[in-house]
């Protein structure tokens, strides 16, 4: 659907995007995961032709370039910053922007109703946007991106700064769009969102793509093993009592070690007759992937 080759963009001294190449397939949800300032928004704007790259190219299906009007018709974009007319109502915002995509008459009404219904804003549609909560504004921001039902949807941090309920609502909306077979590009710095929604993920930091694959493959490749930490019931057990196979670190009454088979090794503990008060297993995830790739946490 989109091919991005060797994109490069700098703002003054800052290199925002450094040699990024991607290929996004029709119908998939593609995640751009990275910390603040990684270059996610800049990459999206380069893909849409809003910014001109210093080097590299963006090609849409059928060899179209992003500045062509046909390409833009097929594209929906929810900016990271809430981009709404605060003094107009939700309905008026939708009517205006859908008009910009050439919708009118019955079709326009139908699409607007669908978008409002999906985002749960139908009963507040006649209120001015400035009276909406943060979560409602986010949902309207999404509704505006999809009201013309484009095959390609680009979402820039669509859940930033909303409460868990609205977040859940937004995730469901995006899943609905996935079911309709839309291609989605999704940028975020929340790894749980990426993990839940994205088929493939590019991890980017400081403008560069560090890794690109499915979630499972990334975890398998970069996340390493699960971490187990155990609190014992009794005073420290002598080293000799512990099963030999386990590479355990002991510190007071707590034990910690890494393994690929956490459950089997906990079995060994109980077989040795050691009684345990609590157990915590941390499965490797994208957070660990990022930590291992950069030596930093995703959200510093």
């Amino acid at each position: 659907m989109i091919r991005v080759d060797g994109l490069h963009k700098r703002f003054g001294q800052t290199v925002a995007v450094d040699d990024v190449s991607l290929q996004i397939e029709t119908g998939e949800t593609f995640g751009l995961l990275g910390p603040n300032g990684a270059g996610k928004s800049t990459t999206l704007q380069l893909m849409m032709g809003i910014l001109t790259p210093d080097r590299g190219s963006v090609t849409f299906a059928e060899d179209r370039n992003p500045r062509e009007l046909t390409t833009r018709h097929n594209l929906g974009f929810a900016p990271q910053q809430l981009s709404l007319y605060e003094t107009l109502t939700g309905w008026e915002n939708l009517r205006f922007f859908s008009r910009m995509y050439g919708l009118c008459g019955q079709q326009q009404q139908r699409q607007m109703n669908w978008a409002l219904e999906m985002t749960g804003l139908l009963d507040r549609a006649q209120d001015p946007v400035k009276t909406y909560s943060g979560g409602m504004k986010r949902r309207l921001n999404l509704a505006l991106a999809v009201v013309h039902d484009p095959p390609l949807i680009l979402l820039d941090e669509p859940t930033v700064g909303v409460d868990p309920q609205s977040r859940h609502h937004l995730f469901e909306n995006i899943e609905q769009l996935q079911e309709k077979g839309r291609t989605i590009v999704y940028t975020t710095h929340y790894m749980d969102a990426a993990q839940r929604l994205c088929d493939r993920i590019a991890i980017i930091d400081q403008g560069r793509v560090l890794a690109l694959d499915t979630v499972d493959a990334l975890v398998a490749k970069y996340a390493g093993r699960s971490q187990i930490s155990v609190d014992l019931d009794e005073t420290p057990v002598p080293r000799t009592v512990l099963p030999e196979r386990l590479a355990v670190e002991q510190c007071g009454r707590s034990l910690q070690w890494e393994t690929e088979t956490p459950l089997a090794e906990l079995e060994l503990l109980s077989a040795a007759g050691i009684s345990v008060r609590s157990v915590e297993i941390t499965r490797p995830n994208l957070e660990t992937v990022f930590l291992n790739l950069t030596g930093r946490k995703l959200r510093d």
Binding site: I50, S83, Y85, T87, L88, R99, M100, P128, L144
Partner: protein, 445 residues
């Protein structure tokens, strides 16, 4: 095209939801127009009739005649018409000092002896005028000379003073030793001839039309001087200040173009701010992603600004009309309005790129607007500006806009005369468009 109109419609809708913006665009200019009109009207235009005091120390036939002639000009009201002479001089001067009278005119003793004799050196008339009434100064001067001129007629009409006039003329010639004897003889004979000729004319006129008022009996149209009203604080007779009070017909003629320009400036500033605000809040980005050209986005904004400017001018014209302003040429007024709208839309685009935030553009737009207004006649009407200010004003779009409006409302410009201010406005607009679009293009990639 439809999309441009939809964008423009959205911008007008945004404006309607912004009470403060509406106030500056509609109410503010109306208030300015009415207040300026009320102020200037009471001291300037409505007082095409000057209120003065006349102190007649001479009390002669001709000095009385002079006073009546002043009243007959129709431009002067004499405050102390029937008052006695005692203390009058001091009282009148006090009234001028307190701003209650425009001037005091003093006819000194001996005024009547030489008044109306073209060849005698006149006893000077003393005038004390309120120093703030600079505009009326020249007008009063003209009226005084006009009244003095009528005394020549007065002298000729009365047989006794006519004879005295010619006798003194002959004496003057006789006494002047510098003239060659032949010339002196010729001049005396010429005077005799003139006297006989005038006598004959007067008799014929009175026998053929005995009921005619005495004023028109004298057939020779003698005037001491023909007066052009030149305000005395101005050098020469050029610039927009020339002859203005012959043409202005209502106190609103000057103040409404002024007020309109404040409304127009508010429009430019308001839309410039809304354009950066869209960039700031991201709706501009949304529009850029939509299948629109940059031209369409800006044209929509520009169209909304254009319509608003036209609306402001129209609303002010209607308000002015209700108050008594009568534009001379509605067609030229429309031309002026369109040029102004074009020009200030260009200025709006240029203003919108003076900063990256609504606050900075707000500051820059209003700052430059006030400067343009100050030097362009938005605060002090152009006609009252000293020459150097008028020269500076050439750089202010507001000045050209005011000239275009005034040209249509009261200056009675021809189409050709209108082309200059309107052409300059169009040029300014084009420059504004280019600057705005180039900078915006560079900025948004």
């Amino acid at each position: 095209m439809v999309r441009i109109l939809v964008i423009a419609g959205k911008d007008l809708q945004l404006l309607l939801r912004d009470p403060l913006g509406l106030f500056f665009i509609l109410a503010f200019p109306a208030i300015m127009g009415i207040i300026f009109g009320a102020i200037t009207g009471s001291s300037q235009t409505d007082q095409a009739i000057l209120e003065i005091a006349v102190i007649d120390e001479d009390q002669s036939r001709l000095s009385t005649r002079f006073t009546s002639a002043l009243v007959e000009t129709g431009s002067i009201r004499i405050w102390n018409r029937d008052a006695t002479l005692e203390n009058e001089r001091q009282a009148s001067l006090d009234r001028v000092r307190r701003g209650r009278l425009t001037a005091v005119v003093i006819l000194p003793r001996g005024f009547g002896e030489t008044a109306g004799m073209p060849w005698a050196s006149p006893v000077p008339i003393e005038v004390a005028i309120d120093p703030s009434r600079t505009a009326e100064r020249g007008m009063l001067q003209g009226l005084l000379v006009e009244a003095a001129g009528s005394l020549v007629t007065a002298r000729l009409e009365d047989p006794a003073s006519r004879r005295a006039l010619f006798a003194s003329g002959r004496r003057e010639i006789e006494r002047n030793q510098k003239l060659p004897t032949v010339t002196r003889g010729l001049l005396v004979r010429l005077l005799d001839l003139l006297e006989r000729e005038i006598e004959g004319e007067l008799e014929r006129a009175s026998s053929s039309n005995p009921t005619a008022p005495s004023k028109s009996t004298f057939p020779v149209d003698l005037e001491l001087a023909r007066i052009e009203f030149v305000p005395i604080d101005r050098q020469g007779d050029r610039g927009l200040g020339a002859n203005w009070h012959d043409k202005v017909r209502s106190r609103w003629d000057l103040s409404f173009p002024q007020g309109m320009l404040w409304g127009v400036l508010s429009c430019s500033a308001g839309f410039a701010i809304s354009l950066v605000r869209e960039q700031e809040q991201g709706t501009f980005l949304r529009l850029q992603v939509a299948p629109l050209s940059r031209f369409q986005i800006l044209a929509g904004k520009a169209a909304a600004c254009f319509v608003t400017v036209l609306f402001v001018i129209l609303a002010m014209v209607l308000l002015g009309y209700a108050l008594g302003m009568r534009p001379i040429s509605p067609l030229l007024l429309a031309l002026a309005a369109f040029s102004i709208a074009w020009s200030f839309v260009g200025i709006m685009l240029a203003m919108s790129v003076t900063g990256r935030t609504a606050e900075s553009v707000n500051g820059a737009a209003w700052g430059s607007g006030v400067l343009m207004a100050m030097f362009g006649g938005g605060m002090v009407p152009l006609v009252f500006m000293p020459n150097f200010m008028q020269t500076l004003s050439l750089f202010s779009p507001v000045r050209w806009a005011v000239e275009a409006l005034e040209g249509a409302i009261w200056r009675n410009y021809s189409v050709v005369e209108m082309l200059r201010p309107c052409g300059v406005l169009m040029g300014i607009g084009a420059i504004g468009f280019s600057v705005g679009i180039l900078v915006l293009k560079r900025r948004t990639g």
